[in-house]
Subunit: 200 residues, 2 copies
């Protein structure tokens, strides 16, 4: 019984920590990297380092950003009075592709999930309340995923956080398959769901 | 319509070049790397660089190796007269786990695949012929994958390359599901297939 050389094992181990990468995929990717030219593997390693060097989270909405605030927050053409609340920055990209939304965003960077020990204080809910108070927001659209954790988070924000502000609070319309993931919805479905949003 | 910041796009693009990683997975991994601590993303980037710094292919058998020759080639306890021919270094690990093989290996680093422009000269077949001539080999076990390309490669090596040497040339026994991939076989099946190998 032999195992791989140490640097191969280390890389397989690191790759295996990535989401959606099992041990067999990690092994396949490691051997792929062994076979490609040095310049190609360096491009990947540099892209990872570059990401952390140049990208952080927007101080206002927690979208990914190259500066202190993201391109959407500093865009004066966006409707300043509407906030779309999403779980992750990648959800912004999905909504932007529909072309149906022209307000700004607030990224929670997670979702309430008691089983994994994530409560309201571990995600950016307090920051959302501060923004609603400080930025003259008139409508908050809750665009968390239409699954258990997303619905729980939306209900918590609507009932416990936003009720005192007496503003319009809406949720994505049905049309998204329940139990699904916002990230995988097609643009038309997501656009219609956004147009038909309902007051909670 | 906005897209991601440049460093995010670059990383998604690089991740998407890896085998088995589609655009959605690449995006998911990129955002995961954005959220983890700097030290964790650096560990991955360093593991990739380290791999290329420290690992190359064995000059004799083309297994992965930290030195000029791999640990199996320099191990005096291995049977020097038997060669097991595999497509990729990862196949060696699968065979070693069965504990049923005690000879040495020869890695082709590919398989004959005319559709992708890979002929006998693009993989390590010539080097195999040199070894059989120089190293007093008495048996070659052809352990390419039991699919179209693997069978073609095994038949080519048996009929065109090894016939003149008048040595024993064997193929993994049936027992492996046809159309499958050696890498995914369970240890017992692979071990039995090895024990029941047949003369071509």
């Amino acid at each position: 019984m032999t195992s791989y050389a140490k640097p191969v094992e280390v890389l397989i181990d690191e790759l295996g920590r990535l989401p959606g990468i099992g041990p067999k995929s990690a092994q396949r990717i490691a051997f792929h990297l062994l076979k490609v030219d040095r310049i190609d593997s360096d491009r990947l390693a540099n892209a990872i380092v570059d990401l952390k060097d140049k990208i952080s989270f927007c101080e206002r909405c927690f979208n990914v950003s190259e500066g202190e605030e993201c391109t959407i927050c500093i865009d004066p053409r966006r409707n300043q009075a509407v906030l779309c609340v999403v779980e992750e920055p990648k959800d912004i990209s999905a909504i932007e592709k529909t072309g149906a939304y022209h307000g700004r965003y607030h990224v929670l960077l997670g979702v309430i999930n008691p089983l994994e020990g994530v409560g309201p204080d571990q995600i950016k809910i307090r920051e959302l309340a501060h923004r609603v108070a400080a930025e003259s927001i008139t409508e908050v659209i809750l665009c968390t995923n239409p699954n258990l954790e997303g619905e729980t988070t939306a209900a918590f924000i609507a009932n416990k956080i936003l009720k005192p502000f007496e503003i319009k609070v809406t949720r994505l319309a049905s049309g998204l398959p329940v139990g699904g993931d916002l990230e995988y919805a097609d643009e038309l479905t997501l656009g219609r769901a956004l147009e038909g949003r309902q007051t909670l």
